[in-house]
Symmetry: C2
Subunit: 293 residues, 2 copies
Amino acid sequence: MKLLDGKLASQAIKDDLKTKVEELKKLGNKIPHLAAVLVGNNGASETYVASKVKSCEEIGFKSTLIRLEDTISEAALLEVIHKLNYDNDVDGILVQLPLPKHISEEKVIDLIDAAKDVDGFHPVNIGKMVQGSETFVSATPYGILLLLQHYKIETKGKHAVVIGRSNIVGRPISILLSRNDDPGNCTVTLCHSHTKNLKEICLQADIIIAALGKPEFLKADMVKQDAVIIDVGITRITDASKKSGYAIKGDVDFENVSPKCSYITPVPGGVGPMTIAALLMNTYKANSLNHDL
Amino acid sequence: MKLLDGKLASQAIKDDLKTKVEELKKLGNKIPHLAAVLVGNNGASETYVASKVKSCEEIGFKSTLIRLEDTISEAALLEVIHKLNYDNDVDGILVQLPLPKHISEEKVIDLIDAAKDVDGFHPVNIGKMVQGSETFVSATPYGILLLLQHYKIETKGKHAVVIGRSNIVGRPISILLSRNDDPGNCTVTLCHSHTKNLKEICLQADIIIAALGKPEFLKADMVKQDAVIIDVGITRITDASKKSGYAIKGDVDFENVSPKCSYITPVPGGVGPMTIAALLMNTYKANSLNHDL
């Protein structure tokens, strides 16, 4: 069993981007600039955004954190997005979700200029992803592709089983893995809450993407010998033995599943760091495309 | 074995739309108007467009057929689309594909106002389809859903195997059948040219959508007893015994497969007529949405 180490793979991507930024600076070209919008002060959102901003700084990207009260009106937030769309210095716009209930996430995301939508949530970018056109693929599925790429995992002709059909992970990765691309060209089965005989289906899988958000759901008896396991789950479980009072659990029963696998992602330190690397890749690309670099 | 009769089901939809159009007329409301753009004089395209226009007439929709020379420049075609976008009387715009090689289909489709894109090919409509938002689903996959609906085929929890990953059929129907909707909630496996052990996968299927374009590809030994078979293929095969000199073949070996099925679509007369019914449904919807009816 080998670990698919997201920290290692994301660091390699960040190192590469850092070098590229230095080259841009040398040539006097524009540096990628990510604008992150954080509404309210949800703990998890604060952590995610802080980590994204910190990663930008590490590799020399410009970043702007726009903090807004959770009482902001929808109209006022849309006005903020509108200004960022027209700000030529801003390459990527990220609105941290979830938003307060009185604001329509759909409206906000639909307003983001698709050419600055580095989160890849705008319908036009999702549509282009489906069509196989040039686009921004959203961070978690793109991060999974980058991880598979980093470890040179062969995907062509493999049977990939995706558990969970969320719009941000399960659905897009099921589409991406079945495209005529590399990584890609998998036979893909998308499973969800209405799937019968999930165990039998998982046992056929060469690659399993567990993205349903149920801690330790995938057990050893559901996994074929030498399968590749990608664990997208990340749930906090109360754990009195830990100093913090909680433990982070993935969707995979790592202890018992890992001995059977050829490759497996740890949680934390697997898909999580790749998500940020993917966001940075998208921001770099947005800068290049929007400024003909 | 029961036939999924597309002629019958599409006629029921057309009858229903006809009644609705009569009601619109009575109320003095706007009638749905489809504008079809045909470039050049490809035989198959002529037939398809003629059939769409005729169906509009049958049910009382207004239709406009815009015929353009195959020497038209890309810019001139884009100008035609632009005018149709701004023509308030036009609800649905359909550009018959394929276009001549010197014209970018992507550019043309991207220019169509998404609110008039009754073919459902615009990336924003594909993206919304993936997200499960209100949209125009493209005609062939939508027609398949309408056919399943007409015959009250239960899809929830069923294993659907889709053969072929084209952007116009295989890919979208694989997405639609796995959505949390009715029809939908299938476990979906998407197969294609790189799929290994296709036969074993097909044998697990409760529903098979054959959309690869290879005549009589799906054989009886690939089909489970009582499966539901949707045949999207339509290929002309030279056949000296026919007066026309050719026979129309689907992707399914109908003669040998049909005795094993619970339901199966004939070719012709299955998915084909449903595609037109779906286009008419989309045009009706576009009229309602764009004119608040």
